[in-house]
């Protein structure tokens, strides 16, 4: 009786997964087998392995890597310092607040800041460096992406650091390890799971960014996300769009497997 009623509680969950997770993926895979004329074929998969799409895939990976790298570079020390502050929850909140603001609004704000006559260039001029083109460059694209993804990287790392048992650090120091050695041999390995989930949360969406490529990079950066958008909205070649999406899903699964947690016991 009890086991049965527990099964009923699963119904909404199963329905949800079936309707909103499994069905869409199946549909995406299904559509990917139809060419632009609506005939069943493997044409799209062939097309994906032409230089255009391979180049696009490479550049997507390259930018996603850059973004993840810089996000991590900034997020780890920030999270580390946060755990040392007095009111950590307050500081954490301040870091999360910007992520409540709509992405598009932030992108438009950056158009103003990075523009030829924007605040960033005024600052450079005052500093004596002189005006530079910032908007529509690789730099601005990576900068804005890092800014947007930062909270998502900081949170898991912060949690990992926060849960770190301080007695390990004391032990390490008692045994004569330098600060750097303590960090590299004790703190960092113990927070690796936080770093990994942070990287996943950043890398995977970064692969398929599309709005920023136009607004901030002026279409000078083309990612797989841009191509999907174009195929669905402009060309109406749903098959090709779906094929690119299938490859993105495959890439993401591979990344998840590679960065997945090794031991089950360390879930938290």
């Amino acid at each position: 009786m009890k086991a049965k009623s527990r099964n009923y509680y699963l119904i909404p969950y199963v329905l949800w997964i079936a309707l909103f997770v499994i069905t869409p993926i199946v549909l995406v895979v299904y559509y990917s087998f139809f060419n632009i004329e609506g005939d069943f074929s493997l044409e799209n998969y062939q097309k994906f392995f032409t230089p255009v799409y391979l180049k696009m895939t490479l550049s997507s990976f390259w930018y996603a890597l850059l973004i993840t790298f810089f996000t991590l570079l900034i997020a780890y020390p920030t999270a580390y310092l946060l755990t040392k502050t007095k009111h950590k929850q307050l500081w954490l909140l301040l870091i999360i607040v910007p992520s409540w603001i709509n992405l598009l609004l932030k992108a438009y704000a950056f158009i103003g800041i990075f523009g030829t006559y924007g605040a960033a260039n005024k600052f450079l001029e005052v500093m004596g460096v002189g005006g530079k083109q910032i908007l529509f460059t690789d730099f601005s694209f990576v900068f804005v992406s890092v800014y947007i993804f930062l909270p998502f990287m900081i949170l898991p790392i912060f949690n990992a650091l926060d849960e770190l048992n301080p007695s390990f650090i004391d032990a390490s120091k008692d045994l004569g390890a330098s600060s750097w050695r303590t960090f590299s041999r004790v703190v960092f390995p113990l927070t690796l799971d936080g770093v990994k989930s942070g990287c996943q949360i950043v890398f995977i969406p970064a692969l398929s960014l599309f709005m920023l490529t136009r607004l901030i990079a002026g279409n000078r950066v083309i990612t797989l996300g841009t191509a999907i958008e174009q195929h669905f909205l402009v060309t109406q070649d749903w098959g090709m769009g779906a094929t690119i999406a299938v490859f993105l899903i495959i890439f993401m699964v591979v990344i998840m497997l590679l960065t997945g947690r090794r031991k089950r016991g360390e879930m938290r």
Binding site: G115, T116, Q133, L215, N219, I222, V234
Partner: protein, 358 residues
């Protein structure tokens, strides 16, 4: 468990109350079945006062929804979730919607104001005898530039002026495959509706050499960027250019002489309509000279309504950049629906062109 049920029932109650309030509000404002029409138009493409005037005159409530691309509009109408009574697609899309049997024929007898439209803009290839569509606005694709930031050697009478070395990193392009590949074709004196792959490739290769001059390929932001002097030159639609010129008077607009695109946005009645008569009333209302004049002054695009011109600012209507005469429009081409395959090829080339690095 108890808490869960309590929370769930609270959510349910709140949703029902909200639903009821929305329902009541709609009835109170007259948004029910027969007395409403749903108009589906481009963003910022009508003077909102006119919608109120229409409501006052006819007692029909207007639900106004907007889209930002022809393709997005097509998708929503195909799905048929909302009963749109009026939509305003561009010419090649009208052709496509006709082929997909998404439009209802328009009864000209119900449109006494149709006589106001300039015959130049009637009976065009994409919709012969205007069986399914009535012109709303028209315009061109051209070059918007800051005269004082551009060297005197360049006057933009030719598309080739965009390739001038002095414009390094100073050109913005609108993010549209047909527009960009189109001016590439025009600069080679080919047709905008070229379907020969060799010639298209030639145009794409020529565009690749423009890359050093291109600052960015953007969407609607192009207007803002030009107003703020972010770049010296932009390739865009005449209406966007006009908007930017209102804000920044130092800007100039030019349609190169080799030819360019002549585009139309026409009003159509989609199959999803539930109120065909009111849709006709709306179209007829928009064709009224005074209404069309007011709308054109608000939106800034060129009106096809000949009778409206005397009601408008003379400075606007005598401006040949936005109201070119017949001789000039003869050189312009209307996009034809080239079919999915060709459109995909255009987009493929455009994607490759975007990926071409400096």
């Amino acid at each position: 468990m108890k808490n869960l049920i309590r929370a769930l029932s609270l959510v349910l109650i709140v949703s029902f109350v909200l639903l009821y309030i929305v329902n009541r509000l709609n009835t109170a404002q007259g948004y029910t079945g027969e007395h409403t029409i749903t108009v589906y138009n481009w963003g910022d493409y009508i003077d909102p006062e006119l919608l109120e005037q229409f409501e006052d005159e006819t007692g029909i409530k207007v639900i106004y929804e907007t889209f930002d691309s022809n393709e997005a509009m097509l998708t929503k109408i195909e799905q048929g979730g909302t009963s749109y009574d009026i939509a305003v697609p561009s010419e090649y899309m009208i052709d496509k919607m006709k082929q997909e049997d998404l439009l209802l024929p328009i009864d000209h007898a119900q449109l006494p104001n149709l006589k106001n439209i300039d015959p130049r803009f009637l009976n065009l290839a994409f919709d012969e005898n205007n069986e399914y569509s009535i012109p709303y606005f028209w315009g061109t694709v051209g070059i918007l530039y800051h005269p004082d930031k551009v060297s005197d050697e360049i006057d933009f009478k030719q598309w080739d002026d965009l390739w001038h070395p002095s414009l390094k990193n100073d050109v913005l392009l609108v993010d549209g495959a047909r527009e960009v590949i189109g001016f590439g074709l025009n600069s080679l004196e080919y047709s905008l509706n070229e379907t020969d792959k060799g010639r298209l490739l030639e145009a794409k290769n020529k565009l690749d050499t423009l890359t050093p001059n291109i600052k960015a390929i953007v969407g609607d932001e192009i207007k803002l960027l030009m107003q703020n002097n972010e770049a010296a030159v932009a390739v865009l639609w005449s209406g966007t250019a006009q908007d930017a010129m209102w804000e920044n008077e130092s800007l100039e607009y030019m349609v190169p002489e080799e030819g360019s695109n002549l585009w139309f946005d026409n009003m159509v009645i989609p199959k999803t309509t539930k109120n065909r008569e009111a849709a006709h009333q709306f179209i007829n209302f928009m064709l009224d000279p005074k209404v069309a004049a007011q709308n054109a002054e608000y939106v800034g695009y060129s009106t096809p309504n000949k009778a409206a011109l005397p009601h408008m600012d003379e400075e606007t209507t005598s401006d040949e950049r936005f109201y070119p005469d017949e001789e000039q429009t003869a050189k312009l081409e209307v996009y034809e629906n080239l079919g999915k395959q060709m459109l995909a090829y255009y987009n493929e080339l455009f994607l490759e062109f975007k990926m071409h690095r400096k």
